[in-house]
């Protein structure tokens, strides 16, 4: 179970993350951001995001933060 946070200050709506998401959970938002782009947004009502991070890997504007559930029993780095 994961979570994706998209920083709309940086997102330019290039759709590369939408293309990369293996679960097809991202889409272009209808609203317009402060920087005049249609940003990407996460639509995940069923909690299918695994936090794989592929969207953040291809993002040209480093606008995506990916969070993943902490595994029990894994020691702090």
């Amino acid at each position: 179970m994961g979570k994706v946070v998209i920083d709309e200050e940086f997102c330019k709506g290039c759709t590369l993350c939408i293309n990369a998401c293996p679960q097809h959970l991202l889409r272009t938002a209808k609203r317009v951001s402060k920087t005049s782009y249609h940003p990407a947004e996460l639509v995940d009502p069923e909690g299918k995001c695994t936090g794989c991070g592929l969207c953040a890997l291809v993002c040209p504007d480093a606008a995506i933060q990916v969070y993943r559930e902490k595994k029990a029993g894994v020691k702090e780095k």
Binding site: M1, G2, K12, A62, R68
Partner: protein, 250 residues
């Protein structure tokens, strides 16, 4: 439920929006270089030499010291910086107009001399900043504003494979060609950048990483079409992979 951040913005990349077009490969390449600088812990002793081209304002985005070189002369500036301060990590960031056209002399000779610097070479097969003219790396048949019916070898010659050319020189220790067209390629590109910096830090010689990058604006495509074009058109002519690795390890 506790969440941990698994990927976010690297510290070396300043928190400012870039001037690049949506979908431009420069943003990914900036992030990869910044992540490697963070990973190696060399931010305080890294110097970047900025090119002329789309990435001309890169010192606004990297939290490291920077020079701005004349067009194509970044390797010359980097040579001076590295020779005076051998403890620094010096890299140049150049496009195909900078590295493969006006700066070919510097590009070849910096490798011939085996200067212990790193070059990040961004090949997008077109002159981006000036509006999409033909570059030396433009593919045969590719339409640009100066080759409106496609590049023809009779009048415009053949595209240059810079990495293969540099790899023949004994002074070049690490040469790789990577792309940022898919998550897998981005992950491999980061490893190549890391090896290039490690080659420099170990003092083994010159290191070059050529990125095949997309330019959606000047190719007149959407970002998703442009990454597909990189994989279908550019990769067959510019094969990916490590062309040269240092003799020791790896």
């Amino acid at each position: 439920m506790e969440m941990e951040m698994v990927s976010g913005r690297p510290k070396t990349l300043l928190p400012v929006p870039t001037h690049y077009c949506p979908g431009c490969g420069h943003g990914v390449i900036h992030r990869l270089v910044a992540e490697v600088i963070d990973g190696l812990g060399i931010r305080e002793k890294t110097v970047v030499v900025a090119p002329v081209g789309c990435a001309v304002l890169l010192y606004n985005y990297f939290d490291v010291d920077a020079y701005e070189a004349a067009h194509g002369r970044a390797p010359a500036i980097a040579t001076g910086c590295k020779r005076v301060n051998p403890e620094l990590v010096v890299f140049t960031y150049q496009g195909d107009g900078d590295f493969a056209a006006i700066g070919t002399a510097e590009a070849v000779h910096v490798a011939a001399r085996g200067e212990k610097i790193t070059t990040i070479f961004v090949n997008n097969a077109v002159y981006g900043m000036t509006g999409g003219q033909m570059a030396p790396t433009t593919l045969l048949g590719q339409k640009t504003t100066t080759t409106t019916s496609g590049r023809a070898s009779e009048t415009a010659g053949f595209p240059i494979r810079m990495s293969e050319m540099i790899a023949t020189l004994p002074g070049a220790a690490y040469v790789a060609r990577v792309s940022v067209s898919s998550p897998k390629n981005v992950a491999q590109a980061k490893m190549a950048v890391r090896k290039a910096f490690e080659t420099q830090i170990k003092g083994l010689g010159y290191s070059l990483v050529e990125f095949l990058s997309q330019c959606p604006t000047n190719w007149h495509m959407t970002p998703v079409e442009s990454v597909r074009w990189v994989e279908e058109q550019m990769v067959p002519y510019y094969p990916l992979g490590e062309l040269k690795v240092p003799k020791e390890e790896y």
